[in-house]
Amino acid sequence: MNSLRRSTWAIPALLAFTSLAALILALVAEGVWDLLSWALLALPPVLIGCFWLKR
């Protein structure tokens, strides 16, 4: 995890990719794909919450 965090772009690029994938997935697919898109798009807020609340 720390080696991932040490890289400047690893996590930001991953979040950008999952966010864009989620936005498009929700647009072109239905049903179970909506679940996946919600999960992927929730990653940035969840991650921000984790780092913010971490002591």
């Binding site: 936005l23 909506d34 798009l41 940035p44």
Partner: protein, 375 residues
Amino acid sequence: MASPASLRRWTTLHRWSSLFCTANLLLLCVTGLLLIFHPEIDAMLGSMPEIQHEGKTLLSPGQLVEAARQAHSGWAPAVYSEDEDHPGRVFVTMLPPGVQDLAKSEAVILDGFTGKAADVKLDETFSMIVLNLHANLFAGFLGELYLALVGIAFFVALISGVVIYAPFMRNFLFGMIRRERGARLFQLDLHNLLGISTLAWCSVVCFTGIILELGKPLLMIYQSQDLAAMTAPFKDRPAPAGIVPLDRAIQTAQKAWPHHRMQFAVFPGTQLTGAHHFSLFMAAETGLAKRVPKLTLVDAATAELTVASDAPWYIQALFVSGPLHFGDYAGTPLRVIWALFTLLTILLCISGLYLFIAKLRGRRREVSLLQEATS
């Protein structure tokens, strides 16, 4: 690696582009937050009529347009559309006699089962007032252009923010938040984390917002280029003496696009479709084609098909920008996540503003220390 001089330039660009859009962005976030939940707010305020549909059958679009004509006698129908999320709620936009400009239109809200026109002025409902504030600051087209400019400034702020993020974070871990070393460092770390994590969402909402604000110029291009080309053979003919009922135009469109439902229809006589045609936009039941309807032009004199094709690419971009901007396209969970991102954007603005003010204060302190030292 950016040189110190170019880094300074990017920082300056980030500071001023952000400052220009921050106040506007805060307003857009707050109104946007209300718009995400506008169906719930409408229901709470009772601003939209309730529709009971047990055991009733839907009236045909043609019958509903007749009902709208009766509610606004002498006015002409311009646009017919159905509320996808509320079966039975139908909007018919009416124009006063002799007027073509849709900006002067009024929407009649109909119960699709009874044909009863609701006693509601759509433009005066809370949600529409918030939408107008969000989309044009009550300043019409000028307001839209101004907010497009705000969007461009936001985009510049996002890009420049990314550029200065990299050298700043070179020796730090992602998500680092320094709590024990003063408010400024805490806000700085928070600003970095918020900005870089929400980058993709902010970019998409910013970019689609700019496209939506440019809707009017895009429609003008459509009228003068693509629509003019498609209707060129009709150009010199006189306007038809009578037009076929909407229902017959819909039948023609449905034959051209099986398994599609009509999302909205534009009546002949408005600028958006010209004097000779109905424009019908046909949406598929699933997938991208549900959001980007197909274009159908039906001869208003004969109900024959003139054109059935994809809309031009920039009109497709306009269609797809709506859901991608408002987040109302994949259920309530998506809307809740949209609201979370909006709140994070508000925090991004506030922490940025804090950093700007802290910087100003710091400068002023330096100046006063300098003055003390030299006096």
